[in-house]
Structures are given as C-alpha cells and as structure tokens.
Symmetry: C2
Subunit: 251 residues, 2 copies
C-alpha cells in the first residue's frame, strides 16, 4: 500500500494571506496520479494557504479558540472538496475522510483514530483522501494535525509499503538551497544517518527537518519514503511508474 502526501505548497499558493488555490498544479498532480492509478493507495494533502494564514489570523496555536477552529475547519474542508473534485474528474474513485470527524488528539498528537473505515474503503477499492485538519484535543482545546502527522500515523498503523511526499522541492539538501548555491541534494538517508539531521537546521523549506525526522522513525520500522518535487511536470508520475527521477529516498 502506498501513501501519497500532496503538499499544501504544491496545490495552493502557499504565500497568499488568504485561501488561494493553485488550480493548475492541483489539476496536473491529480491527473498524474490518476494516469498511473496506483492501488492500494491512501492520499493525504496539506492545507497550504487554506490553513496556515487562518491559524495565524485567529492565533489558534497560542490561544485555542472555537471561532478560529470552526473557520479553519471550513476552509480545509473546502480545499479537500477541490482535491476530490479533480481526482473524480480524472477517473479515481475517492472518498474523503474528514479527520475532525474521527480523530481526537492528546497534546498535539493523534490519540484516538479508528482506521477501520479506511480499511473498509480500501477493501472496496476506493481511495480515502485525508488532509491536514484541526481536531479536538484532550489536553489542549484543539490542535492542528498536519498532513505529515497523518501520513506518519497511517504509515505505521497500516503498514504502508511506501510513502511519497509530493512537495515543492527536489528533496532534502545538505544546506538550504535558497541560501547556498553549492547545496547538494542528498539522494538517500538511512536511519543510521540520524546524526546528519543537524545539518537541516538551515533548511527552511516546509519544515523539512521535521519531515525527515518523522520519516526516519518510519524507516526504522521498515517503511521507505521518497521526497519528490511535484511542481515539476511528470516527476511524480514517473516516480509512480517506477522510473528514476531526482528525489531523496529515506530508508
């Protein structure tokens, strides 16, 4: 089973201060996945500008408040509807799974999540589509559960064969490629390379250090990940077809 995480930075205009779709990328990425139609598959997408600016505006992290909760919830759901729309359009049978309907967190981490329904959809050859959402939290009031956290949780719980992070960068660099012209793409990171993580502090692209740290934990359990640039046409598609593309393998 493959889990593909589509980055919010790919399908939305990440720098926008209000929810703004990158429709061109969204359509292309959905099309690329549907042209290969891998299965069993779980899709997870990030929130991009449908989440982050609103979380910030309502100061949800420092001051969990229900007005902000409800507005974020609305917008990420709206983004999910767009994603499902194009997947359906290009022929994939998808069902959206709303995290805030079925997840309860504790201290910012998934605590209760009955994945039985997801398993049933997969048995029926329907692709569940999850997304970064804001959910109830036992200890905090609410907490933001990122797409990355959902990927990590499902990857382990459902014993995924492979995880693909479709992002807006080619992979993991040894230094921040936006600052350093001599930054080099790391082709492979193994669990025993943990020490190298220190170097990622300079890498500010989408919390890459955090992503790698999570993916290394999965790698230790035998789940391999690949980070690929889905902003580049056909790169995700080629990867899904088993072709060699520029990327970072973790595991």
């Amino acid at each position: 089973m493959i889990i593909i995480k589509i980055g919010g930075s790919v399908i939305t205009d990440k720098n926008s201060k209000y929810p703004k779709l990158n429709k061109k990328n969204l359509k292309r990425v959905c099309k690329e996945i549907c042209e290969v139609m891998p299965f069993p598959l779980i899709l997870v997408h990030g929130a991009g500008s449908f989440g982050h600016p609103i979380v910030k505006k309502y100061d949800i992290i420092a001051n969990p408040n229900k007005k902000g909760f409800c507005i974020v919830h609305y917008w990420v759901k709206k983004l999910n509807l767009y994603v499902c729309r194009y997947l359906l359009k290009y022929g994939m049978d998808v069902v959206s799974i709303q995290p805030s309907s079925c997840i309860i967190a504790s201290d910012g981490f998934i605590d209760y999540f009955n994945v039985k329904i997801i398993e049933r959809y997969l048995e029926k050859e329907i692709v569940p589509v999850l997304y970064g959402d804001i959910v109830l939290d036992k200890s905090l009031e609410f907490s933001v559960i990122s797409g990355d956290q959902i990927v990590r949780y499902l990857g382990e719980k459902m014993k995924a064969n492979k995880i693909i992070l479709a992002t807006d960068v080619d992979g993991v660099y040894d230094k921040d490629p936006k600052k350093h012209k001599d930054a080099k793409l790391i082709k492979r990171i193994k669990p025993e390379d943990k020490i190298k993580l220190k170097d990622f502090k300079e890498d500010v692209t989408g919390g890459m250090a955090g992503k790698v740290s999570e993916l290394l934990k999965l790698a230790e359990k035998g789940v391999k990940s690949e980070i690929v640039n889905a902003k580049k046409k056909n790169r995700l598609k080629k990867l899904l077809l088993g072709k060699r593309v520029r990327r970072t393998i973790i595991g």
Copy 2:
C-alpha cells in the same frame, strides 16, 4: 438538547434533476436559527437534489456501485459546505461531521457510530452539523443513510429534549393536502394514536408516513418532535423562540 433537521426540500430545489441550491431559503433558514442561537444543538440536513437525482442516475439502491457512491459522497459534502458557510456567516460556531467518515451501516441501518466526538464538540459549545450521506454497509455494499435516520439515532442515543423537522409542509395532514382541499392539519399525534398512520398513505410529501413512524418510536421514549414549515418566513424562528405556530407535534 435540540436536534433540528433541515429538509433537503427546503434548502435545495428538490425537483431539479441536477444538484441545485435554493440559496434564498438556505440563507434565510440559517439566519433564523442563528438569530435564536438555541444550545445545546445538533443540526442535520437532508440532501435534496444534491443526493436523490444522483442516487437515481447511478442506480445505487438496486445496484450498489463505487462510482455512484463516490459521486453522491462528493455532492452531499458540497451541500454541507454551503450550509456550514452560511451558519458561520451568521455567527454560529459549527463543525461538520461527515457521516461516511464515522458511520458503518448494516442492512441499511446505522450499526457503528461513535458519538463521542459529537459530545465533545457540544461540551465546547460548537454545533455539529451532520447530513444525509452514503456510507459503508456490512451486508449491502453501501447504503444511503438519510438525515431522518441520523436524527432518529441521535435523538435516542443522545437523549434529545426535542426534535424539530424543518420541512416544506405545515405538518402532518389527515390526507394529502395536494389532492384534497379539505385535508386538515393534525396538531398533535401521540404514540397511542399509532393506528391513524394508515391515513398517511395518501400523503406523498417527503415520505411523511415514514417520518411520523420514526418520530412515534422516539415519542415512546419521551423525545417530542415538531414538524414545521421552514419555507414560510420566520415560522422556524418563532417556534425556536417558543411561540405558537402552525405545526404538528408528535409526542
């Protein structure tokens, strides 16, 4: 705790062959509820033309198929997003609860439904908004779970004080008011009046006989219901304010 069911016939153009919103009604009904702001409250809405024509087109009842399932799922979710949009606009803190994310049916009836998350949202004074949806079924492939069935289930399980069905008719008539000019509105039906149900066979407005039968079962358990015409301006609002309006009380 009150449960309000907003009929699909009120907020959509029920006779349309494709999904068509009745935006004017939707906005007005949301505004009326938000002007009173009853709490604790659970909202449930029907699918109207966002569900029925698609269920029919894909022949889902006779021939459960995943393509039809996914398309229906998409459209009812879209309707739910509209409903949440206007409730938020008029100041209500709402969270949508997607039935297909948390319900599994058996033979067409709700079998698994963990209402813990709904209780938590209510504790936080957030109004859960559910809707008629298509869900996994243990015995059938999929089954349509109507808003009415959700109302009945939650009414009993969560011990509602009152249920209000906001429909497109004034209440329950002794005969079909569209056929018989002398049809009279029945102001109250008590559980011991069960026998009268026979008369409803002529009443074709939105499966009223089925609704009444379900509501009588709830009445036997002490949950009173009221059927009111939400197409008439301010009638729902007046009812929520405790004023006397034309309606049928069941229980």
